[in-house]
Amino acid sequence: MFEAIAFYLFSFLTISMFYITVTTSQALYALTALAAGMIFISAFFFILGADFLGAVQIMVYSGAVMALYAFGMMFFDTTREVKEKQGNRFVIVGLSLVAAVLIVVIFAAPIVTDNITALYPITEGVGNTQDIGMVLFTKYLVPFEVAAVMLLVAMISGIILAGKKMDLSLTLMDEDEIKEMKKEEENKKVLL
């Protein structure tokens, strides 16, 4: 009973938050609604007994990803209204629904035919975190290490891409120096 109430409450909240995210014309509203939706999604993980996944969801999405977006938005002009693509609405909605139904069919087909067996069954009497640790560090050790290397590559590429000219401070420079720097940049662009 409580599970049903929690499911319907959180699905309503999640759907409304994500609807705000995709329809609002203010970037800041979209960001905050997305962060709220991520936290509400972690509630589903807790209902489903995947405690560790829910904690990771809160930490990674609301902590890391949202902070990254918030810092990134300081570079962009977020007060300006977001322009929208003008297309046929019915085509867009229809295409989205067809694609989503297709995805669900792909996912649900093996369940409906009922020919899947549990590869790594959930152990009784063991907490979710312990269980995940046992599977992750035995059967999924190589993907785990590959994911770690991929995160390292992403971190280095993020630093290299966004960190150009971060050693210069525009507030501490004179007007003449800034003008000179801009001129140099324009000359570089012509060369490119």
């Binding site: 995210t21 995709v22 993980f45 938005m73 962009f76 977001v82 693509k85 369940i111 549990a118 959930i122």
Partner: protein, 101 residues
Amino acid sequence: MEIGLNHYLVLSTILFSIGLIGVMRRKNLLMLFFATEILLNSVNISFAAISHYNGDLTGQMFAFFVIAIAASEVAVGLGLLILWHKRHNNIDLDSMSTMRG
């Protein structure tokens, strides 16, 4: 009323279609990234639900790797976006049509 696997799959479908609508109607690249996050999260819900109702941990493992990929995608994508914004002063998709045939 019992909540079954189908409930979660339907919820995942609704969230996925919301994300797809966002991808299709947004012009701003930052908003497009937000829509991508919604897509990844909706898939994560169905992974966790299938994992729970089959008593199998594989779905949760896949959800972890999806989260890791999403995090690294955000890092690289935001770096590229900041670079593009420094050069062209906007992040609209229309300004990136130099390869149009």
